[in-house]
């Protein structure tokens, strides 16, 4: 039973064309994260929501935005994707004070 679902699994977009990646969870966790992972590198935290409170990492480009309309869903919007934004995007959830994050399978973004 999938607990953290990411759609689509593979996304191709053109340089500069806005794209939205989605994440949903069935765990009722209050914290949701978006990570960017480039090849052979560590997953890099972009931002997270603690309930409805949005927390942006200091070095996350303005090109990246996020929305969390309800507990279950979280979206990553890339307003004008560049070639350097091609990566795997991982969504994760956790409950409050737990450090154990549950990850989705990721969306691999290709920018042409």
């Amino acid at each position: 039973d999938a607990m953290v679902i990411q759609n689509p699994r593979y996304q191709v977009t053109q340089f500069g064309k806005p794209v939205t990646l989605s994440c949903s969870q069935t765990l009722n966790h209050n914290v949701m994260y978006w990570y960017q992972q480039k090849s052979s590198q560590a997953p890099k935290l972009l931002f997270h929501y603690y309930d409805k409170d949005f927390n942006n990492e200091a070095d996350t480009p303005d090109n990246f935005q996020s929305r969390r309309p309800n507990t279950s869903f979280c979206f990553l919007d890339i307003r004008s994707p560049g070639l350097g934004d091609a990566a795997m995007y991982l969504c994760a959830t956790t409950l409050g004070t737990s450090n154990e994050q549950f990850f989705g399978p990721g969306t691999r973004l290709t920018v042409l």
Partner: protein, 112 residues
């Protein structure tokens, strides 16, 4: 600057032998550490954790050792099985419940 380092990008071990994956960190504020395992086309899954009040935590075939003075932790898998072949990420955070920083991962191959 990498706060969490995994200096071996890959490791090959014979089935039945011990696998030792290493992780070093630079931030002395890190107090809670986790290991995640990632199979291809899947998100990372939590494996084992340790807090700084301990120097060892064991769960079945998996044991994590922490040496705070050396800012070093290691994951031991005994005996290694082919199904353990995956990428292993080390992660660290200042406190339980806070965002944590990932290392770049080590790809473990267990050979039959």
């Amino acid at each position: 600057d990498q706060q969490v380092k995994q200096n071996s990008p890959s490791l090959s071990v014979q089935e039945g032998r011990i696998s030792i994956l290493n992780c070093d960190y630079t931030n002395s504020m890190f107090d809670y550490f986790l290991w995640y395992k990632k199979y291809p086309a899947e998100g990372p899954t939590f494996l084992i954790s340790i807090s700084s009040i301990k120097d060892k935590n064991e769960d079945g075939r998996f044991t994590v050792f922490l040496n705070k003075s050396a800012k070093h932790l290691s994951l031991h898998i005994v005996p290694s099985q082919p199904g353990d072949s995956a990428v292993y990420f080390c992660a660290a955070s200042p406190l339980r419940g806070q965002n944590f920083v990932f290392g770049p991962g080590t790809r473990l191959s267990v050979l039959p």
